[in-house]
Subunit: 123 residues, 2 copies
């Protein structure tokens, strides 16, 4: 069983956290059988925490957990906090594969998207 | 003269802010004549601030300023702080068109990108 966790910063504004949960629901529908679970998880100010989400995924039977940092720049959260959380969780679950993907801002496809959208906005 | 400002949160980690400045440089090269100026600006923890960047653009001759919130979710920064800064700047420069674009996370194209990249990661 393969789980995908969308890792977001979290906000004091509830609608912002709900937006990330809605993204996770939409991705679950779109990704189909690639992942049996797709959930949002928050570094702070949102539920569940990344720790909690990993525990829930393991309890639900996940043996491969893919973590996607939904962040645009590699600030301390991306560079330090998230890798530390992931290392600790992986150590607690030696039988589970825990894979941390590159953060969204590192995607070459994102640069193409920005170029296209901002060119449109200039018209 | 048309200026584009990439509005980011800003980080205590210098490399993170430099990453957004590098994005602005790359977009300037890719967008070509659509914008005469493309700069990064930071809500906090980075230089220049959004206020400063708008003043610099006006001083450099910009008469149309397009602001792109480089944010993934509509937390308080996107929902409240940035619109308030933009309203105040627009009021200070009645001869300048100041246009606030939707934030990145609201883009339908982003959902397509995420679906494609995360499907790839499952292979």
């Amino acid at each position: 069983v393969r789980a995908l966790l969308i890792l977001a910063h979290g906000s004091r504004r509830r609608a912002s956290n709900e937006e990330v949960r809605e993204l996770a629901r939409e991705l679950r529908a779109r990704l189909g059988p690639a992942y049996q679970q797709v959930e949002a998880a928050f570094l702070e100010l949102g539920e569940p925490s990344i720790d909690e989400a990993i525990e829930q995924a393991v309890t639900a039977g996940a043996r491969r957990i893919v973590l996607f940092p939904y962040f645009l720049a590699a600030g301390r959260h991306v560079a330090e906090d998230i890798p530390a959380i992931v290392r600790a969780c992986a150590a607690r679950h030696p039988g589970v594969s825990v894979e941390l993907l590159p953060y969204l801002g590192a995607s070459a496809a994102l640069l193409d998207l920005l170029t296209a959208e901002l060119a449109k906005a200039a018209r």
